[in-house]
Symmetry: C2
Subunit: 304 residues, 2 copies
């Protein structure tokens, strides 16, 4: 069954009635399931996670954007998190039987419609980006709403869809396609933050470690220990267990034990199947050997 996940971020993290109205607009599309939503008052930002078939998810994303455009005025918005729009970013994520190319296509179709019907300029990012500089969201968001107002008329900052001027209240939107992001934290049995920071440096791609891994060392005050906090942005190429094993061997080198770990939010089943197959040394393991996977395929086959 084709499943796409979508994780729009909206520039409202304080007025719950606004976020609820946006979530309701998204949930109103048949075939879409809200998996989670959260509000952050400091960032003044909310994140909605939903999933479903490609068409339903694209339609639901549009309705969420339309509702946010109605209810959020970015001229009144203050918060710590950088943003360019009332709806700030909309990533499509392939989950099941869907390719990255299909998600790129969804991003383009949604971008075109948003520009045409809501008059909001749209930038395509990550896998949907139209040039290398726009792969990275930070480049698109440079200067935020306030600076982009003037800069959008410069050719290098022209949007991919829509006219080169911001929507007066809703700003602009970055729409893209990306891999599933696994938030994975490993706790170390020490209160020495410098060890967590050094291990994070060894593990993350930006400083010579694993590609597709972002990592920070941080303190867990309440527990009196430190943590290597990671985002794994492509768990199929850089699996969870590879990151874990690298942290383990680095921690060993400092004589520090791993005292536990956690996945924040959701993790695709394949990531856990791969980890189990790795540690149990399963040769030639495939997800076809998983009872529930087979059952769903069998029952899904009749429905298609």
């Amino acid at each position: 069954m084709k499943i796409v996940e979508c994780v729009p971020n909206f520039s409202e993290g304080r007025r719950e009635e606004v976020v609820r109205a946006i979530v309701s607009a998204i949930a109103g599309v048949q075939g879409v399931e809200i998996l989670d939503y959260s509000m952050d008052p400091d960032h003044n930002r909310s994140v909605v996670t939903f999933a479903g078939g490609p068409d339903a998810v694209r339609e639901a994303a549009y309705r969420g954007i339309a509702k946010a455009t109605e209810l959020i005025d970015l001229n009144q918005h203050r918060g710590q998190h950088p943003r360019i729009g009332a709806t700030d970013v909309v990533p499509f994520v392939p989950v099941e039987d869907v390719s990255m190319d299909e998600c790129v296509q969804l991003a383009r179709e949604l971008g075109q419609r948003v520009a045409a019907e809501l008059k909001i300029p749209v930038y395509l990012y990550e896998y949907a980006a139209t040039c290398p500089e726009r792969k990275n969201l930070a480049n698109i968001r440079r200067g935020e709403f306030e600076a982009l107002k003037g800069e959008i008329s410069r050719p290098d900052r022209h949007p991919d869809f829509g006219e080169p001027r911001l929507h007066p209240t809703a700003g602009a939107i970055a729409i893209g396609a990306r891999g599933f992001l696994v938030a994975f934290n490993v706790n170390l049995g020490t209160n020495d933050l410098s060890i967590a920071k050094r291990i994070a440096r060894t593990v993350r791609g930006s400083t010579g470690g694993l590609v597709n891994v972002k990592a920070l060392g941080m303190r867990l005050e309440a527990k009196g220990i430190v943590q290597v906090s990671m985002n794994l942005v492509d768990f199929r190429r850089t699996p969870i267990h590879v990151a874990f094993n690298l942290i383990k061997s680095e921690a060993d080198r400092y004589g520090v034990p791993i005292v536990g770990s956690e996945i924040v939010g959701l993790v695709p089943q394949d990531a856990l199947f791969e980890a189990a197959a790795h540690y149990l040394r399963l040769n030639d393991f495939t997800r076809q050997q998983v009872l529930e996977v087979r059952l769903r395929q069998a029952s899904g086959a009749g429905g298609r």
Copy 2:
């Protein structure tokens, strides 16, 4: 969604048209999916694995039994595997949102109907057993079809359902409820069979090892190595990774490496999730964190 697995064994492993007819009879029930079937000519026996909702699975099991009764004459049957009936054993296995008690109830209902309508005596076994001696299938099958003909009239061998005499061609049937069986084999980097046998002895419950684990040491001639071949009969209480780690530490003691392992047939997703959570040291992990589990619950919730 309620899912029950059923794994009937039929006393025919040579005539493919007979096995196909039985499989077709089972597959004819709506809501039932055939997951696998296999024929063994030496054992002259076939094993069909199917699953679905409780009512559909019970009905499909009945139809399979009825078809086997029609097509198999146990008086003509020769094979290595002990058996008492044309349909020899029918276990119901809880898979999802179903308790063992519900599977015991399915076994009773099916047994009653088989005795009443097909005139085949039925013994209940494992979790469905009506006395401790009948938990073990080997006790029920003692002497097989040929000896049971005479002994069935003895009170201690009276069936749980039906008259105390065998069906003239179909014999008797053992119907029961049991946990999911995971077939898990670990390969050792040695050709010394005695090491595999010693490790098997340490690991299996019957000789002092782990309860719910059956284990044998055997030779893999083609590969020139040996294997500890296991059945894990209750993976929730005695997880795969516990068996694996015990084998690993025993193999270390003999200085022998583990060179791989395999799951034969199907494995429930929870067994792999548990293994991943163990090795990745995930604190407080629940299947609710698995994207696909959450998606199915969300979409299933509307349908109930």
